[in-house]
Symmetry: D3
Subunit: 248 residues, 6 copies
């Protein structure tokens, strides 16, 4: 079983963090292929960056499916491009936000998501609503730029800790979900520190991907995720026409 | 007052239909600038096409804002790229689905949206939910490819009529919303034929854009629509970095 | 195009404030007819006053429609009598709360409404829910009697400012909606002061009315807003029987 | 214990039907005072009639409270004027729709309401939503004018029976709520005929009123139902000013 | 009319408190039969205790129905075993939480429930949601063990008072619901002290039971509450098989 | 890793079906321990049976946790006793309904659950709502007794097929969830026959259990699932007191 883990931003150091988190939980028989998107923003902070992370992400998914991957993971907590990826692929495609929420829903009734920047809070609230967790999950922003998580000099991790403490006290959170792929390496440490379940979406998505593959499930192609109709794509985006992507 | 109307697919004949609908309702003092996206799919049918309609759309919005436009309209009923466009622009940006639903909400309590293909039904149901109309609006697909609306030989218009008749009878719809920009030229005819309000999103969006500009309102830049943070965009998408877009 | 703006309370000075706000944004070709209800409470503060503002309001709407008005606006933020007015009239009828919320929904994801008295807060929460904005808009009361807004000696405007500041800080509001027709003259000043979009319902409703008329839309008469069946009205209310109203 | 039952339309024969239903279930120590509104429409069919049923209704409530009534019932299934009545009175005020839904909720999970005319269906759907029963109760209209229920020559009762049969078959209703005060006399007969619980709102409201009085509960005067602030009411409605109503 | 009131925990002193509350409001013609469950936990604090309170509760309901009871009340604010009891019985079965919420909904728009322990807060939030009061009722825990309410030395009642004060101030509660059967004796005192409606579920359930019986209503047996199908129950639970229960 | 799979009814042949489904998808390193409850109903059909399936279920969970199990699965589609089990255990406890819905949510937007009897439909609708899938999943009953699935002479499987066909046609279901543990052996066959994803909850729960264990997650013990407080349990249920269960 080969699972593609795409970092939809173009920062390789973050892909390394993500790959580590994925390897740590993968089954012995699972091959994790972690790739960095070859085009687009160096970090995804809000709706605009999200839009430009999608093409590179879809290229990686098309390539991996052609090369025989069994499932794909979008390793950005905004679940960037998830619907488009599912329409494109037959293999299961999993967002790390939805995987984290699903895992947490089995072990806690109320929980809080701590993400990076305020501008990402509302998109995550929309995801929480979409995944049916509106009454259960609260979203908090620790006010830290995504790439500062990679910078040992920044106080990003302290701010994250502070926000978790507030979530436990004020939201009466039973568990904490880490709201950015770049926080994946902190999971174990934060569990020890706070003594509550701390959930990282990358790891959760790997296990979910393995599960769906083992269950023999692929994306339903009847309805919302029907395969793209082949048609002309013009101009600078010609190469992304459905037929061209299949040939990748 | 200059209003940009972007057709986010690359089919010029559809832009002409859209431009006509816009001109018909614009105030005397309003200049309508209708443009066809220079890159991406020839029609938008489902999530995959949507993703690739966004870059071209955003380029037109950035250009128009720099050139002094007062507001922008995204003339695809999926409201493709709406959030990214709002983050990018300061001027108001309006989706034709949300404009159509807002207009209809002032004159009817229950209504039906008739769109083209089944694969577009669920994305529209999500929009209906997002715009707070879940209990009020039902979405129906007439099972017609988008571009067949441009083809006088197709039976697309008959299928549309049939589906409207079903909506009136079974949904007890009080009004009908046309769920595709390519249906804009049919509004007057369908009103006469069915004797109920028929709403086209392109026209509705033009009036909404004029209204917001006259009210002196621009997109809120605090929270979800804060301007994109400047950062490096790499590879084939380098030209879309926030700073590069502002220079367009 | 002639638009009726009814102040459903009987305080003429408030009608003047409302008329000013309406004139400021109306198109050159729009005639604004601002009238004060001839019967009922001097201000509308809660459910009881609301009930007695309806008859006078409906009289003005019946008269105006007979005299050729194109649309009507109910200039009280409770959207008093809106459903009854829509059943009575064929022209579009617009509440200033719904117009304000619709306009704001195009430029902000989260916003706060600041109204006058605590007893008006819950009725407005019901409206917010009805208009599908439950997750997006928070209602706050500044604890000021409606008519104190007309009194230069009162501290009503200071209290309003304080509550706006709280809304920006605690609700993370992206925009502010003024929750009383009597605040319409403060819009420009508050925008400058707080640097965020501030929306007044009277102005928003004028533009919405112009839009609906330009779109050729009238109230759907199939379903909830079917015209009143003619029947006997007895006692002191005899004059309000549907047939009598049509003859007004 | 004296309970006012107001028929908010002006048709005395319907008051008689209502009074009978109330007497049949009242406790021995309960005095039922059934009154017909002295002004307004002869039947309430839709939003417009509703608006003009409120003043007469409030007069009766004010009079009865002054004369020592313990509770009041609004005997129209639209729960016409309920919020205004609660703001006015200190005694409990009960709508027959809300009483019927509350009673039914204790004995069934899913049920259907069968009302008179299509134009009343949407207002009842709003009430169902307001009372928190959206997922549980379906509203159906049997397409019968309200006063035809009083007419032995009409086929109103047959149409009602037909619609109940459809509700049992298609909605899988576990119980049936009669959606008009004028159907109260049919309860026993319909129970026998269909073999399922059939609930009449008038009877349900009498028992609910007795219950609230016995529990020593009166309307909360903190928040939404705070007593009307005394103020001038002008013109034809002068007599309805809060202070005047208290003196009734 | 005989009404069974089951205390589903096994603490007799609490049954006495409950019986007192029931007797205080019962009609002269109503016989209250208060029983203590003969098996299970001494108090119900959370999901685990709830599960083991159900068998004893159902035994009492089966016995009472056979002996001619007209209705049954489950006197634990978690409405423990309510659905199973309704499937078993033909007479109405009422939970004290649902009865309290129904009564309060007639006199207040927003209210707060003050319960004992944090671990009971979420189960009550689920009930509030189930009973359609999500937007209206807030649940607070005063952090007091259930049985401490019976202990004159504990500070439980002071903590309860404090939490009520917070609810009035922060939630702007219009009324207070006591969230534990063991608080029933405090109702009158707390009403005097706080000057707002205070609702006890035991008393509310007695009046609701009387009402349903007077209305001639029994549990709908079509759908969710269809009588249990007779079948073998094995092992230690053999005696609870439907047929055995009927023979009790 | 050892995973307990409890069949909460007492029918051993159904445990065998369940065990087979579990073994088919378990990882090589996973030990599946399938047990039949030692007390309670032979099948779970509605709320009453559910209540008596809980004690036996909890005994097996307590025993298995003491013996070193890593996770537990409740193999009845009603997710019988799930909250009580989570309060009791530290290891993750998974219901097969919630596991099936979670898995399906990754591969389809709209789907239908086909269960056995009408009386189980509403409990499943409540679960669908609880798990946040109200808008996405429709529940259908094929009107087949649970144990008839074990009987080769019955037409249960034909009825199931018919209902799946209706779900695909009328609900436009993109995938089918089998709504009873006793259908687990039909999964592969139905996938081939209908050509859409068919999801069995037993298999889904096994993979979910493995995932949670691999992620190092256990049930949150802060809030709703705090461990039961030790206390006396009396009468026939003495042996189920928290302390006694821990000693099992």
């Amino acid at each position: 079983m080969r699972i593609l883990v795409v970092n939809p931003n173009t920062t390789r150091s973050m892909t390394a963090t993500i790959a580590d988190a994925a390897h740590r939980v993968a089954n012995p028989g699972t091959e994790i292929v972690a790739v960095t998107s070859s085009m687009g923003p160096v970090s995804i902070e809000g709706y605009y960056d999200e839009a430009f992370a999608v093409p590179g992400l879809l290229v990686e998914i098309a390539r991996a499916e052609k090369a025989g991957a069994s499932a794909a993971i979008i390793a950005c907590f905004d679940d960037t491009g998830l619907d488009a990826a599912r329409a494109l692929a037959h293999m299961p495609v999993i967002g790390i936000c939805e995987a984290a929420l699903a895992a947490t829903s089995f072990i806690a009734q109320r929980f809080s998501i701590v993400t990076t920047m305020e501008r990402s809070r509302l998109p995550l609230e929309h995801l929480v609503h979409r995944y049916g967790m509106s009454g259960r999950a609260k979203v908090r922003a620790a006010d830290i730029p995504v790439l500062s998580l990679e910078d040992p000099q920044s106080n990003a991790r302290d701010r994250l800790r502070n926000e978790i403490a507030v979530a436990l006290r004020e939201d009466k959170a039973e568990a904490i979900v880490l709201g950015c792929a770049g926080m994946a390496d902190l999971t174990a440490e934060l569990r020890r520190e706070f003594g509550v379940p701390v959930i990282d979406g990358v790891a959760a998505a790997v296990k979910q991907a393995e599960a769906l593959v083992a269950l023999g499930l692929s994306t339903a192609k009847r309805g919302a995720y029907a395969s793209p109709i082949n048609k002309t794509y013009t101009g600078a985006l010609e190469a992304f026409a459905p037929a061209a992507m299949v040939r990748l």
